[in-house]
Symmetry: C2
Subunit: 301 residues, 2 copies
């Protein structure tokens, strides 16, 4: 069992396994134009925190599920997250030059290749998802439910809708209701997907899926408010991007609407809500989920 | 039965049903930013020929399958096709101002929205696909096989790879081998997916799937060579775009490599190959597929 590892060790172990697995889904021998393959790998293997894959795997393991079967799902969600970063950074959208302290995809590979690399990662994510059944015998019904949920949570009603609203917000028409819509969808939906999909890998009951959804929904919002706070008062070097970029972009944030202290209190409240949900006794091994929740509130980048 | 309809009537009937169904998958009441919804609809409802949906439905019906169950799959493939056009037309890629005689998506809705509309359509295509099971009781195994195949055929190894190679070709490094790679993947793969998916809806045997693959593969290449020919000698008004844009873009084409007459002969040979495959007696009702094959060779736009 991995439960003897510290959270730090657990995160490093999972991160390494996810990276190996991602490499496996972009194999050297596949018949893909080299420039496209290179651009996809550039962002996918840039060494992020792999928070979403961690949620998939911790959720699967919280119900005694198999990490091996959860890996294709963890890879899928990381591909979707990565594609969204590549497209968000494009000149027509956020026009960012740096991501995780490295030049953004289009800065290195050009705009056209970056668009296609994003398209490729999004499409390939669904391939990776199917491998839970093809390679690891997850029932087809469960994997298809994940496909349906990912397409909703990452699509027009989910992440893409959140990104669109965020972009419109930069043009100065955001109110608190719209800000919540942006946070719930742009970041929250993919985190909800991650924990629920982990649950499905472990054949979660409907009640357990509901608990995991509450956990993901609360924590996803807390995560995004924490991001708003870090952008305001974080450590520039650790963040790998300039501080107060939201202010400079005239983007409204939680601190903008309810102040810094109130925002911190909201992060705490939502995190508590998430932790209580999985501590109800219906989730047999909630420890890693609880630790991850605390980690996200206390992170400084 | 619909077999008494002329091909023209059949195409119009299917086109109308697909358009209705597409409208159903972009419902008025869904919670999506209006600007994103409008941009997605703009291209999806622009009234193309719906060739790929026709292949899905004709293939399903060639095995006695249900049109109703094939419609979500037909919609999925049209969404993927439409997203690929939106992204291909972007300034960083082909920088086209016109598509089907109308201003391209980014010309009307702006570049950022066009990128997100494409992302939204690609993601939503997988949702549409899952509805074959959720709404029409196609076995989950079959729908999951379609998800796997669509993600391959439309992804880095398929359409996106073809698009990348095509873009590199515009920079003057294409040879005949690469041109064939481009045609097979950029256009061919999605047509192969369409006919095979139609087959799966009708519970095709492995042998029947193989026949449909041969049909789609041959016809997909013929279709693309015909496109090359039409770009050279077609009717500008009917095409809805300027003639000889390939020449102007210094894009190599089949006529460039093997001449116009040889290209026409190749279209004929490939079409014959496709028709023979489905006329082998293993496909109970091949008539519409045969008519569609002839239609594609004789089309003028």
């Amino acid at each position: 069992m991995t439960s003897r590892l510290s959270l730090q060790q657990y995160m490093e172990e999972v991160n390494a396994e996810v990276s190996d697995s991602l490499q496996h889904y972009l194999p050297k021998e596949w018949n893909v134009p080299a420039s496209l393959d290179t651009a996809m790998s550039y962002s996918l293997m840039a060494g992020g925190k792999r928070i979403r894959p961690l949620f998939v795997i911790a959720a699967a393991e919280s119900l005694g599920g198999s990490r091996e079967a959860a890996l294709p799902v963890a890879c899928a969600v990381e591909m979707v997250h990565t594609y969204s970063l590549i497209h968000d950074d494009l000149p027509a959208l956020d026009n960012d030059d740096l991501r995780r302290g490295k030049p953004t995809n289009h800065k290195v590979h050009g705009e056209a290749t970056a668009i296609l690399a994003g398209d490729g990662l999004l499409t390939h994510a669904f391939y990776s998802l199917t491998q839970a059944t093809t390679k690891f015998h997850v029932p087809a019904e469960d994997t298809l439910a994940m496909v349906e949920e990912l397409s909703k949570m990452a699509g027009p009603q989910g992440m893409v809708g959140g990104q669109m609203a965020d972009m419109e917000g930069e043009q100065g028409i955001t109110d608190l209701k719209q800000l919540k819509y942006i946070h719930l969808h742009k970041t929250g939906d993919l985190i909800v997907f991650s924990v629920k999909a982990g649950g499905r890998i472990a054949s979660a009951s409907l009640e357990q899926l509901h608990i995991l959804e509450t956990f993901g929904r609360s924590l996803g919002l807390a995560f995004q408010i924490q991001d708003d706070i870090l952008d305001l008062v974080g450590n520039e070097e650790k963040l790998g991007k300039p501080l107060q970029s939201d202010l400079k972009m005239q983007k409204v944030t939680y601190p903008y609407f309810i102040g810094l202290e109130q925002s911190r209190a909201e992060v705490k409240r939502l995190t508590q809500l998430a932790k209580e949900a999985v501590s109800s006794g219906k989730i047999p091994y909630p420890e890693r989920l609880l630790e991850l929740a605390d980690f996200l509130v206390h992170r400084d980048h």
